[in-house]
Symmetry: C2
Subunit: 219 residues, 2 copies
DNA sequence: ACCTGAACACCGTTCAAGT
DNA sequence: ACCTGAACACCGTTCAAGT
Protein backbone atom coordinates (compact mmCIF):
# COMPACT_ATOMS: atom_id res chain seq x y z
CA UNK A 1 0.00 0.00 0.00
CA UNK A 2 1.12 3.52 -0.70
CA UNK A 3 -0.59 5.24 2.17
CA UNK A 4 2.43 7.48 2.48
CA UNK A 5 1.10 9.82 -0.14
CA UNK A 6 -2.33 9.98 1.46
CA UNK A 7 -0.91 10.63 4.90
CA UNK A 8 1.23 13.48 3.66
CA UNK A 9 -1.57 14.97 1.68
CA UNK A 10 -4.06 15.14 4.53
CA UNK A 11 -2.24 14.51 7.76
CA UNK A 12 -4.02 16.90 10.05
CA UNK A 13 -7.27 15.23 10.94
CA UNK A 14 -6.07 11.94 12.35
CA UNK A 15 -4.35 9.17 10.46
CA UNK A 16 -5.21 5.59 9.69
CA UNK A 17 -3.78 4.26 12.94
CA UNK A 18 -6.02 6.57 14.92
CA UNK A 19 -9.09 5.59 13.00
CA UNK A 20 -8.44 1.91 13.58
CA UNK A 21 -7.78 2.66 17.24
CA UNK A 22 -4.28 1.26 17.35
CA UNK A 23 -2.78 4.33 18.97
CA UNK A 24 -2.62 4.77 22.72
CA UNK A 25 -4.39 7.67 24.41
CA UNK A 26 -1.15 9.50 25.06
CA UNK A 27 -0.23 9.79 21.39
CA UNK A 28 -1.53 13.35 21.10
CA UNK A 29 1.87 14.35 19.83
CA UNK A 30 0.98 12.77 16.53
CA UNK A 31 -2.12 13.46 14.56
CA UNK A 32 -5.27 14.13 16.49
CA UNK A 33 -4.47 17.16 18.63
CA UNK A 34 -6.76 19.41 16.66
CA UNK A 35 -9.76 17.15 17.15
CA UNK A 36 -8.92 16.63 20.83
CA UNK A 37 -8.75 20.36 21.42
CA UNK A 38 -12.08 20.94 19.73
CA UNK A 39 -13.71 18.14 21.67
CA UNK A 40 -12.40 19.41 24.99
CA UNK A 41 -13.33 22.99 24.07
CA UNK A 42 -16.89 21.95 23.36
CA UNK A 43 -17.21 20.22 26.72
CA UNK A 44 -15.72 23.18 28.55
CA UNK A 45 -18.01 25.67 26.82
CA UNK A 46 -20.98 23.51 27.72
CA UNK A 47 -20.01 23.32 31.38
CA UNK A 48 -18.38 26.70 31.99
CA UNK A 49 -19.65 28.93 29.22
CA UNK A 50 -17.58 30.83 26.70
CA UNK A 51 -15.75 32.88 29.32
CA UNK A 52 -14.50 29.73 30.98
CA UNK A 53 -12.57 28.77 27.87
CA UNK A 54 -8.83 29.45 27.84
CA UNK A 55 -6.30 28.17 25.36
CA UNK A 56 -3.80 27.40 28.10
CA UNK A 57 -6.38 25.49 30.11
CA UNK A 58 -7.33 23.55 27.02
CA UNK A 59 -3.73 22.60 26.32
CA UNK A 60 -3.33 21.53 29.94
CA UNK A 61 -6.44 19.36 29.93
CA UNK A 62 -5.39 17.69 26.71
CA UNK A 63 -1.85 17.17 27.97
CA UNK A 64 0.25 19.35 25.70
CA UNK A 65 2.26 22.49 26.22
CA UNK A 66 0.51 25.83 25.94
CA UNK A 67 2.23 26.61 22.65
CA UNK A 68 1.09 23.44 20.92
CA UNK A 69 -2.43 24.54 19.89
CA UNK A 70 -0.89 27.23 17.72
CA UNK A 71 0.10 24.56 15.19
CA UNK A 72 -3.64 23.92 14.58
CA UNK A 73 -5.32 27.21 15.41
CA UNK A 74 -3.58 30.45 14.65
CA UNK A 75 -5.19 32.20 17.59
CA UNK A 76 -8.07 31.93 20.02
CA UNK A 77 -10.56 33.31 17.54
CA UNK A 78 -9.59 30.66 15.00
CA UNK A 79 -10.42 27.96 17.53
CA UNK A 80 -13.75 29.63 18.31
CA UNK A 81 -14.55 29.80 14.61
CA UNK A 82 -13.76 26.11 14.18
CA UNK A 83 -15.86 25.33 17.25
CA UNK A 84 -18.80 27.24 15.82
CA UNK A 85 -18.42 25.48 12.50
CA UNK A 86 -18.41 22.05 14.14
CA UNK A 87 -21.46 23.18 16.09
CA UNK A 88 -23.32 23.82 12.86
CA UNK A 89 -22.27 20.42 11.59
CA UNK A 90 -23.66 18.75 14.69
CA UNK A 91 -26.86 20.78 14.57
CA UNK A 92 -27.29 19.88 10.91
CA UNK A 93 -26.82 16.20 11.66
CA UNK A 94 -29.38 16.29 14.45
CA UNK A 95 -31.87 18.15 12.30
CA UNK A 96 -31.40 15.63 9.52
CA UNK A 97 -31.82 12.72 11.94
CA UNK A 98 -35.02 14.17 13.37
CA UNK A 99 -36.26 14.83 9.87
CA UNK A 100 -35.73 11.25 8.78
CA UNK A 101 -37.10 9.59 11.90
CA UNK A 102 -40.29 11.63 11.71
CA UNK A 103 -41.91 9.70 8.89
CA UNK A 104 -43.22 11.52 5.84
CA UNK A 105 -45.95 13.77 7.22
CA UNK A 106 -45.13 17.43 6.73
CA UNK A 107 -46.40 18.69 10.08
CA UNK A 108 -44.76 15.89 12.01
CA UNK A 109 -41.46 16.48 10.26
CA UNK A 110 -41.65 20.21 10.91
CA UNK A 111 -42.36 19.82 14.60
CA UNK A 112 -39.72 17.13 15.03
CA UNK A 113 -37.07 19.25 13.34
CA UNK A 114 -37.94 22.32 15.39
CA UNK A 115 -37.84 20.22 18.55
CA UNK A 116 -34.38 18.97 17.59
CA UNK A 117 -33.20 22.54 17.09
CA UNK A 118 -34.49 23.57 20.49
CA UNK A 119 -33.00 20.48 22.11
CA UNK A 120 -29.65 21.61 20.77
CA UNK A 121 -30.25 25.09 22.18
CA UNK A 122 -31.06 23.63 25.59
CA UNK A 123 -28.08 21.29 25.73
CA UNK A 124 -25.52 23.65 24.20
CA UNK A 125 -26.78 27.14 24.84
CA UNK A 126 -23.35 28.75 24.98
CA UNK A 127 -22.27 27.00 21.80
CA UNK A 128 -25.37 28.20 19.96
CA UNK A 129 -24.56 31.70 21.20
CA UNK A 130 -21.10 31.40 19.74
CA UNK A 131 -22.51 30.12 16.45
CA UNK A 132 -24.65 33.24 16.13
CA UNK A 133 -22.25 35.75 17.63
CA UNK A 134 -21.52 38.86 15.63
CA UNK A 135 -17.93 38.73 14.49
CA UNK A 136 -16.56 40.03 11.23
CA UNK A 137 -18.41 37.70 8.89
CA UNK A 138 -17.72 38.05 5.21
CA UNK A 139 -20.22 37.00 2.59
CA UNK A 140 -18.25 33.85 1.76
CA UNK A 141 -17.54 33.04 5.39
CA UNK A 142 -17.28 29.27 5.91
CA UNK A 143 -19.62 29.76 8.85
CA UNK A 144 -22.31 31.11 6.56
CA UNK A 145 -21.99 28.03 4.42
CA UNK A 146 -22.01 25.70 7.41
CA UNK A 147 -25.13 27.35 8.81
CA UNK A 148 -27.05 27.07 5.57
CA UNK A 149 -25.95 23.47 5.15
CA UNK A 150 -27.11 22.72 8.68
CA UNK A 151 -30.50 24.19 8.03
CA UNK A 152 -30.90 22.52 4.64
CA UNK A 153 -33.30 19.84 5.94
CA UNK A 154 -35.63 22.71 6.74
CA UNK A 155 -35.37 24.06 3.21
CA UNK A 156 -36.13 20.61 1.90
CA UNK A 157 -39.15 20.53 4.18
CA UNK A 158 -40.38 23.80 2.73
CA UNK A 159 -40.14 22.25 -0.70
CA UNK A 160 -42.22 19.28 0.44
CA UNK A 161 -44.86 21.59 1.87
CA UNK A 162 -45.06 23.41 -1.44
CA UNK A 163 -45.39 20.17 -3.41
CA UNK A 164 -48.25 19.12 -1.15
CA UNK A 165 -50.00 22.46 -1.49
CA UNK A 166 -49.63 23.26 2.19
CA UNK A 167 -47.26 26.17 1.68
CA UNK A 168 -47.41 29.02 -0.79
CA UNK A 169 -45.18 29.04 -3.86
CA UNK A 170 -41.95 31.02 -3.92
CA UNK A 171 -38.24 30.62 -3.34
CA UNK A 172 -37.95 27.87 -0.69
CA UNK A 173 -34.91 29.59 0.78
CA UNK A 174 -36.76 32.86 1.19
CA UNK A 175 -39.63 31.10 2.97
CA UNK A 176 -37.26 28.90 4.92
CA UNK A 177 -35.44 31.90 6.29
CA UNK A 178 -38.62 33.05 8.00
CA UNK A 179 -38.84 29.67 9.70
CA UNK A 180 -35.13 29.75 10.51
CA UNK A 181 -35.44 33.19 12.10
CA UNK A 182 -38.50 32.18 14.06
CA UNK A 183 -36.90 29.08 15.53
CA UNK A 184 -33.58 30.75 16.24
CA UNK A 185 -35.39 33.66 17.89
CA UNK A 186 -37.34 31.23 20.04
CA UNK A 187 -34.10 29.54 21.01
CA UNK A 188 -32.47 32.90 21.78
CA UNK A 189 -35.33 33.96 24.03
CA UNK A 190 -34.76 30.78 25.98
CA UNK A 191 -30.96 30.68 26.16
CA UNK A 192 -30.88 34.32 27.20
CA UNK A 193 -33.32 33.60 30.01
CA UNK A 194 -36.16 35.76 28.71
CA UNK A 195 -38.54 32.82 28.93
CA UNK A 196 -38.55 29.71 31.12
CA UNK A 197 -38.59 26.07 30.12
CA UNK A 198 -42.33 25.98 30.73
CA UNK A 199 -42.97 28.81 28.28
CA UNK A 200 -40.56 27.43 25.71
CA UNK A 201 -42.81 24.59 24.65
CA UNK A 202 -45.76 26.94 24.27
CA UNK A 203 -43.75 29.51 22.32
CA UNK A 204 -42.24 26.90 20.02
CA UNK A 205 -45.66 25.48 19.29
CA UNK A 206 -47.10 28.92 18.60
CA UNK A 207 -44.18 29.94 16.41
CA UNK A 208 -44.62 26.89 14.20
CA UNK A 209 -48.39 27.27 14.03
CA UNK A 210 -48.08 30.93 13.04
CA UNK A 211 -45.47 30.10 10.45
CA UNK A 212 -47.56 27.43 8.80
CA UNK A 213 -50.64 29.66 8.82
CA UNK A 214 -48.59 32.58 7.57
CA UNK A 215 -47.14 30.60 4.69
CA UNK A 216 -50.49 29.15 3.62
CA UNK A 217 -51.28 29.60 -0.07
CA UNK A 218 -53.69 32.52 -0.55
CA UNK A 219 -56.54 30.75 -2.32
CA UNK B 1 -32.65 73.68 50.75
CA UNK B 2 -31.98 70.32 52.29
CA UNK B 3 -30.53 68.57 49.26
CA UNK B 4 -28.05 66.91 51.59
CA UNK B 5 -30.50 64.17 52.41
CA UNK B 6 -31.34 63.54 48.78
CA UNK B 7 -27.70 63.45 47.75
CA UNK B 8 -26.84 60.94 50.42
CA UNK B 9 -29.82 58.79 49.61
CA UNK B 10 -29.03 58.44 45.92
CA UNK B 11 -25.49 59.60 45.32
CA UNK B 12 -24.35 57.14 42.68
CA UNK B 13 -25.90 58.33 39.44
CA UNK B 14 -24.63 61.89 39.21
CA UNK B 15 -25.46 64.77 41.50
CA UNK B 16 -27.25 68.05 41.05
CA UNK B 17 -24.13 69.93 39.96
CA UNK B 18 -23.60 67.44 37.13
CA UNK B 19 -27.15 67.69 35.95
CA UNK B 20 -26.96 71.46 35.80
CA UNK B 21 -23.62 71.18 34.03
CA UNK B 22 -21.60 73.17 36.53
CA UNK B 23 -18.89 70.55 36.90
CA UNK B 24 -15.80 70.53 34.69
CA UNK B 25 -15.02 67.55 32.49
CA UNK B 26 -12.20 66.41 34.72
CA UNK B 27 -14.40 65.92 37.77
CA UNK B 28 -14.77 62.18 37.22
CA UNK B 29 -13.47 61.70 40.71
CA UNK B 30 -16.82 62.82 42.01
CA UNK B 31 -20.13 61.45 40.96
CA UNK B 32 -20.43 60.38 37.36
CA UNK B 33 -17.75 57.73 36.90
CA UNK B 34 -20.25 54.94 36.59
CA UNK B 35 -22.13 56.63 33.79
CA UNK B 36 -18.91 57.62 32.05
CA UNK B 37 -17.67 54.03 32.13
CA UNK B 38 -20.91 52.71 30.69
CA UNK B 39 -20.93 55.34 27.96
CA UNK B 40 -17.34 54.60 26.98
CA UNK B 41 -17.97 50.85 27.16
CA UNK B 42 -20.89 51.16 24.79
CA UNK B 43 -18.82 53.09 22.26
CA UNK B 44 -15.95 50.62 22.50
CA UNK B 45 -18.24 47.62 22.06
CA UNK B 46 -19.77 49.26 19.02
CA UNK B 47 -16.39 49.94 17.44
CA UNK B 48 -14.32 46.99 18.58
CA UNK B 49 -16.81 44.33 19.56
CA UNK B 50 -17.12 42.64 22.92
CA UNK B 51 -13.62 41.19 22.83
CA UNK B 52 -12.15 44.64 22.46
CA UNK B 53 -13.52 45.66 25.83
CA UNK B 54 -11.12 45.69 28.79
CA UNK B 55 -11.71 47.19 32.19
CA UNK B 56 -8.22 48.63 32.30
CA UNK B 57 -8.60 50.21 28.89
CA UNK B 58 -11.90 51.67 29.93
CA UNK B 59 -10.40 53.17 33.05
CA UNK B 60 -7.57 54.63 30.98
CA UNK B 61 -9.89 56.18 28.41
CA UNK B 62 -12.02 57.73 31.11
CA UNK B 63 -8.95 59.02 32.93
CA UNK B 64 -9.05 57.07 36.13
CA UNK B 65 -6.87 54.40 37.72
CA UNK B 66 -7.53 50.77 36.85
CA UNK B 67 -8.84 50.03 40.32
CA UNK B 68 -11.45 52.77 40.29
CA UNK B 69 -14.19 50.97 38.32
CA UNK B 70 -14.43 48.43 41.12
CA UNK B 71 -16.26 51.01 43.23
CA UNK B 72 -19.13 50.92 40.71
CA UNK B 73 -18.91 47.46 39.16
CA UNK B 74 -17.85 44.53 41.28
CA UNK B 75 -16.26 42.76 38.33
CA UNK B 76 -16.20 42.72 34.55
CA UNK B 77 -19.38 40.70 34.35
CA UNK B 78 -21.23 43.25 36.46
CA UNK B 79 -20.29 45.95 33.98
CA UNK B 80 -21.43 43.78 31.07
CA UNK B 81 -24.73 43.15 32.83
CA UNK B 82 -25.25 46.87 33.39
CA UNK B 83 -24.34 47.51 29.76
CA UNK B 84 -26.89 44.97 28.58
CA UNK B 85 -29.53 46.47 30.82
CA UNK B 86 -28.89 49.97 29.50
CA UNK B 87 -29.06 48.49 26.01
CA UNK B 88 -32.57 47.23 26.70
CA UNK B 89 -33.52 50.64 28.02
CA UNK B 90 -32.31 52.28 24.84
CA UNK B 91 -34.00 49.70 22.63
CA UNK B 92 -37.23 50.18 24.55
CA UNK B 93 -37.05 53.94 24.12
CA UNK B 94 -36.46 53.62 20.39
CA UNK B 95 -39.31 51.14 20.00
CA UNK B 96 -41.62 53.46 21.90
CA UNK B 97 -40.54 56.44 19.79
CA UNK B 98 -41.15 54.55 16.56
CA UNK B 99 -44.49 53.37 17.89
CA UNK B 100 -45.65 56.88 18.67
CA UNK B 101 -44.41 58.52 15.49
CA UNK B 102 -46.14 55.91 13.35
CA UNK B 103 -49.64 57.25 13.72
CA UNK B 104 -52.46 54.97 14.81
CA UNK B 105 -52.67 52.38 12.04
CA UNK B 106 -51.87 48.90 13.30
CA UNK B 107 -49.84 47.74 10.31
CA UNK B 108 -47.87 50.96 10.09
CA UNK B 109 -47.06 50.83 13.78
CA UNK B 110 -46.01 47.20 13.56
CA UNK B 111 -43.67 47.78 10.62
CA UNK B 112 -42.22 50.94 12.15
CA UNK B 113 -41.50 49.20 15.44
CA UNK B 114 -39.90 46.22 13.73
CA UNK B 115 -37.79 48.57 11.62
CA UNK B 116 -36.63 50.35 14.77
CA UNK B 117 -35.63 47.03 16.32
CA UNK B 118 -33.63 46.07 13.26
CA UNK B 119 -32.03 49.51 13.10
CA UNK B 120 -30.80 48.92 16.63
CA UNK B 121 -29.45 45.53 15.57
CA UNK B 122 -27.59 47.09 12.66
CA UNK B 123 -26.09 49.94 14.65
CA UNK B 124 -25.24 47.98 17.80
CA UNK B 125 -24.89 44.39 16.73
CA UNK B 126 -22.39 43.45 19.41
CA UNK B 127 -24.48 45.09 22.11
CA UNK B 128 -27.57 43.18 20.99
CA UNK B 129 -25.49 40.02 21.13
CA UNK B 130 -24.54 40.82 24.69
CA UNK B 131 -28.15 41.52 25.60
CA UNK B 132 -29.14 38.05 24.43
CA UNK B 133 -26.06 36.16 25.54
CA UNK B 134 -26.56 33.06 27.64
CA UNK B 135 -25.26 33.79 31.11
CA UNK B 136 -26.68 32.50 34.35
CA UNK B 137 -30.04 34.23 34.20
CA UNK B 138 -32.41 33.69 37.09
CA UNK B 139 -36.15 34.03 36.74
CA UNK B 140 -36.15 37.40 38.49
CA UNK B 141 -33.06 38.63 36.69
CA UNK B 142 -33.19 42.42 36.22
CA UNK B 143 -32.28 41.75 32.60
CA UNK B 144 -35.45 39.73 32.12
CA UNK B 145 -37.46 42.62 33.46
CA UNK B 146 -35.60 45.16 31.33
CA UNK B 147 -36.14 43.09 28.19
CA UNK B 148 -39.86 42.71 28.75
CA UNK B 149 -40.17 46.40 29.54
CA UNK B 150 -38.32 47.25 26.34
CA UNK B 151 -40.64 45.11 24.29
CA UNK B 152 -43.79 46.38 26.00
CA UNK B 153 -44.75 48.66 23.09
CA UNK B 154 -45.05 45.49 21.04
CA UNK B 155 -47.34 43.91 23.61
CA UNK B 156 -49.46 47.04 23.56
CA UNK B 157 -49.58 46.76 19.79
CA UNK B 158 -50.84 43.20 20.05
CA UNK B 159 -53.60 44.46 22.27
CA UNK B 160 -54.55 47.07 19.69
CA UNK B 161 -54.67 44.45 16.97
CA UNK B 162 -56.98 42.35 19.08
CA UNK B 163 -59.30 45.30 19.78
CA UNK B 164 -59.52 45.98 16.08
CA UNK B 165 -60.24 42.36 15.24
CA UNK B 166 -57.04 41.96 13.25
CA UNK B 167 -55.42 39.51 15.65
CA UNK B 168 -56.89 36.48 17.34
CA UNK B 169 -57.88 36.60 21.00
CA UNK B 170 -55.59 35.25 23.70
CA UNK B 171 -52.94 36.38 26.14
CA UNK B 172 -51.22 39.36 24.44
CA UNK B 173 -47.90 38.37 26.00
CA UNK B 174 -48.13 34.86 24.58
CA UNK B 175 -48.85 36.21 21.11
CA UNK B 176 -46.31 38.99 21.49
CA UNK B 177 -43.56 36.49 22.28
CA UNK B 178 -44.01 34.94 18.86
CA UNK B 179 -43.47 38.35 17.31
CA UNK B 180 -40.54 39.03 19.65
CA UNK B 181 -38.87 35.75 18.70
CA UNK B 182 -39.43 36.33 15.02
CA UNK B 183 -37.90 39.80 15.04
CA UNK B 184 -35.01 38.85 17.28
CA UNK B 185 -34.32 35.81 15.10
CA UNK B 186 -34.31 38.01 12.03
CA UNK B 187 -31.88 40.35 13.74
CA UNK B 188 -29.67 37.43 14.81
CA UNK B 189 -29.51 36.05 11.29
CA UNK B 190 -28.25 39.45 10.20
CA UNK B 191 -25.80 40.27 13.00
CA UNK B 192 -24.27 36.81 12.71
CA UNK B 193 -23.75 37.32 8.99
CA UNK B 194 -26.09 34.55 7.84
CA UNK B 195 -27.92 37.02 5.62
CA UNK B 196 -26.82 40.25 3.95
CA UNK B 197 -28.28 43.71 4.22
CA UNK B 198 -30.13 43.19 0.96
CA UNK B 199 -31.87 40.06 2.26
CA UNK B 200 -32.62 41.64 5.63
CA UNK B 201 -35.35 43.91 4.32
CA UNK B 202 -37.01 41.02 2.52
CA UNK B 203 -36.82 38.71 5.52
CA UNK B 204 -38.13 41.34 7.90
CA UNK B 205 -41.05 42.03 5.61
CA UNK B 206 -41.83 38.33 5.24
CA UNK B 207 -41.54 37.69 8.97
CA UNK B 208 -44.06 40.40 9.77
CA UNK B 209 -46.43 39.31 7.02
CA UNK B 210 -46.34 35.71 8.20
CA UNK B 211 -46.87 36.76 11.79
CA UNK B 212 -49.92 38.85 10.98
CA UNK B 213 -51.38 36.09 8.82
CA UNK B 214 -50.54 33.51 11.44
CA UNK B 215 -52.23 35.46 14.22
CA UNK B 216 -55.36 36.16 12.19
CA UNK B 217 -58.60 35.24 13.97
CA UNK B 218 -59.92 31.93 12.66
CA UNK B 219 -63.35 32.98 11.48
C1' DA C 1 5.92 18.18 10.80
C1' DC C 2 4.92 18.82 15.33
C1' DC C 3 5.79 20.10 20.07
C1' DT C 4 8.37 22.50 24.12
C1' DG C 5 9.41 26.23 27.15
C1' DA C 6 11.05 30.83 28.03
C1' DA C 7 9.71 35.57 27.21
C1' DC C 8 6.62 39.54 26.63
C1' DA C 9 2.77 42.48 27.10
C1' DC C 10 -1.59 42.57 28.83
C1' DC C 11 -5.50 41.52 31.76
C1' DG C 12 -8.96 40.99 36.06
C1' DT C 13 -8.99 41.15 40.85
C1' DT C 14 -7.56 42.32 45.49
C1' DC C 15 -6.27 45.43 49.04
C1' DA C 16 -3.76 48.60 51.90
C1' DA C 17 -3.16 53.39 51.64
C1' DG C 18 -4.39 57.97 50.52
C1' DT C 19 -7.93 62.25 50.09
C1' DA D 1 -17.24 57.92 49.98
C1' DC D 2 -14.24 57.49 46.38
C1' DC D 3 -9.83 56.82 44.14
C1' DT D 4 -4.70 55.29 43.76
C1' DG D 5 -1.05 52.12 42.93
C1' DA D 6 1.48 47.98 44.03
C1' DA D 7 0.89 43.03 43.97
C1' DC D 8 -0.74 38.51 42.32
C1' DA D 9 -2.20 34.99 39.29
C1' DC D 10 -3.51 34.24 34.86
C1' DC D 11 -3.84 34.82 29.92
C1' DG D 12 -2.77 35.07 24.49
C1' DT D 13 0.92 35.34 21.45
C1' DT D 14 5.57 34.86 19.70
C1' DC D 15 9.64 32.35 18.69
C1' DA D 16 13.96 29.92 19.08
C1' DA D 17 15.01 25.32 20.15
C1' DG D 18 14.23 20.55 20.30
C1' DT D 19 12.54 15.62 18.22
Amino acid sequence: MDNNVDADHNAVNGNILDRVGLVSEKSYHHGNLRAALLEQAKATVREQGLDGLSLRDLARQVGVSHGAPRRHFQDRQALLDALAESGFEQLGAELAAAFEQAGSDFGTRLRASAAAYLRFAINDAALLDLMFSSKGHDADDPLHTAAMAAFSPMFELIHQGQREGILEAGDPERIGLVLFASIQGTAALFTSGMIESAQLEQLASDAITYFVRGALPIP
